[in-house]
Amino acid sequence: MIDPFAVKDCALIAIATGERAHNLRELRDRLETTHPGCIYYHFWGGLLRPGFDDPEYQNDFAVWAYHGLHDRFLAERLSLIDPTEFADMEELRRELIEIIEERLDENELVPWASAHQLFHFIRSQIVVFDTGNRISEPEELKGQIPQIGVGSIFYHFVDARRRTANRSDDFSEWLKGFGNSYNRLLEQIAALDPYFKSLTELRSQLGQILEEYTSR
């Protein structure tokens, strides 16, 4: 017997670390030592804070390279980093530093940002709570997903990648408990890329996948 899926919700609160970077070398130096939570926040925090999509640049480092340093080369390279491909924040940190060092080697001058466009390192605390909502059967997911909040989508679809052994989402982990019955559905969910979508888009696409799957 598989346990029902416990729908949880989360609230993220941002904390300024007080660390700032005025130029690319300082960014590299701060990245060496900053709290791993900062790396996480600057890759994923954008999903839970106000802003219009910046489709070319998905993480805060790339956005700053473009808007703060006016370095399009670096912005493009940084934006290509997909955090889901790295085992943990330390690996992701190494990759970031590699790319920045490569760019520092290419340039004779260190690019600077204006005083109004410093990079501010931010980390977050996440508070997770149980909504009390339980899903007993996979077939119920279709009706439930459109009803759950974006905080729940963040927790089960994005945050889960830090918690689960397979760096997967909680819905997939739960479905795997039912043996091979839902393999096709699992493949479709796995193809959803959380890094290039807003949480409401993720929720609606997940709902669509479940809708199509159950109507077949």
Partner: protein, 413 residues
């Protein structure tokens, strides 16, 4: 219509938002939370607290709101403090600083029992900051909430104030760039507006026509408005310059409306400067409104085609949020929290000069389709990000987080 505030908010923000608020609040049921600021009327802080207190109460907490009171010298000192923390270079005379500290000690005499017993004390802005020192028996968590832009303060004044705020358990800032390094966690929370308040709720067409008539506005010509305190950092004179530049190309009326706050002694002086700059031009309507003229302000924002907030310094700019909520594109100074709300070509335009503001006024009034599209986007943006329900959620999260120290992950289950 239900009497419960939460039910009314649910109709606007949706069931999932309210349900998660209730769940978060459950863990804090019965917590005594005292907010302290320096005025009950006028200014964004008072407006937020007017609604946040009943909302927290409905969620099961025990909130209260206290105000520090003082004489003229106290307000003069805190106004200087406000201006210098926002970058003006000025030495605050020692006697005024002494009065500031004495006033806080006097207020502490009255409030000590309540503050020392509270589970959370949230002190807003510099005015009541020294209260903590006068409450040695405090048992709860003390949080200093800074609503102003302290990104480039006049250092001697910040150094003075830092002595009072350093011992707090945490502080809250509107933007990371405002946050000054302190030996406690620096939380980032943006303020909000209340969609159910008189200032923001829907008004009938009849009421809007009456507002227009009351202030002699011509309904056939576009209106641009800046509705904000008469404060030099809001650059009302720059708005008049922008209006004059734009008026050469498009028919236009300007409304400059502001209320006074009881803790702002400079308002009268700035108002005189604005009147002098307007030179009795009939299309410039300068309105000094009482601090409770919320429906009038609501009406003026709604009858405007474009709302300006041409500040040169701004904490967050709730007047921007209010205008956006009413579906108006905003032309705002490229400073502080305005940058978080106004996104070029999406919700309005960021400008740095009267010329820039004039250019964008002309653009929007000659591209009505863009003006309307940006207005729609602006309203949606506020719905998703800047309503009081999100604000309360972040306060609750912070209170829960602060009880657990600096743990990155807090599981309430």
């Amino acid at each position: 219509m239900t009497d419960l505030l939460l039910d009314q908010y649910q109709e606007i923000v949706g069931e999932d938002v309210i349900s998660s608020l209730r769940q978060l609040a459950e863990t804090l049921r019965g917590a005594r939370v005292v907010h302290v600021n320096s005025t009950k009327e006028g200014g964004g802080v008072a407006e937020i607290l007017h609604r946040m207190i009943p909302l927290k109460k409905e969620l099961g907490l025990e909130p209260s709101w206290e105000v520090v009171v003082g004489e003229g010298e106290f307000y003069q000192c805190t106004k200087y403090m406000h201006n210098t923390l926002q970058g003006n270079r000025f030495e605050i005379p020692q006697p005024l600083l002494k009065r500031y500290e004495e006033t806080n000690e006097e207020n502490a005499e009255r409030l000590r029992g309540q503050l020392e017993e509270a589970d959370f004390v949230i002190i807003h802005d510099p005015q009541p900051a020294p209260l903590l020192n006068s409450c040695p028996g405090r048992r709860g968590k003390w949080i200093w909430r800074c609503h102003i832009d302290v990104s480039r303060p006049y250092r001697p004044v910040w150094k003075y104030l830092r002595n009072f705020v350093e011992p707090y358990d945490a502080s809250i800032w509107s933007l990371a760039e405002f946050a000054q390094p302190l030996q406690h966690p620096l939380y980032l929370i943006r303020p909000s507006i209340d969609p159910l308040s008189d200032k923001n709720k829907e008004l009938s067409k009849k009421e809007l026509r009456e507002v227009s008539k009351r202030f002699n506005l011509d309904p056939d010509r576009p209106v641009v408005a800046q509705i904000s305190r008469f404060d030099r950092f809001k650059d009302p004179v720059g708005v008049i310059q922008a209006f004059r530049l734009a008026k050469n190309f498009v028919p236009l009326q300007l409304v400059l409306a502001g209320g006074g706050a009881t803790d702002d002694p400079e308002g009268e002086e700035v108002l005189s400067e604005v009147r002098a700059a307007a030179m009795d031009e009939p299309d410039i309507h300068i309105l000094l409104l009482p601090s409770d003229a919320h429906r009038t302000i609501n009406g003026l924002q709604r009858i405007s085609d474009i709302v300006l907030q041409k500040s040169t310094k701004e904490g967050f700019g709730l007047t921007v949020t209010e205008a956006m909520w009413k579906g108006k594109p905003v032309i705002g100074g490229e400073v502080g929290g305005i940058k978080l709300q106004v996104h070029n070509h999406h919700t309005g335009f960021l400008v740095n000069t009267p010329e820039g503001a004039a250019l964008r006024i002309r653009y929007l009034l000659t591209h009505r389709d863009k003006l309307e599209e940006m207005g729609r986007k602006a309203q949606q943006f506020v719905l998703e990000n800047f309503l009081i329900t999100r604000h309360v959620r972040e306060y609750l999260t912070l209170m829960l987080a602060i009880l657990r120290g600096t743990e990155e992950r807090i599981e309430l289950v």
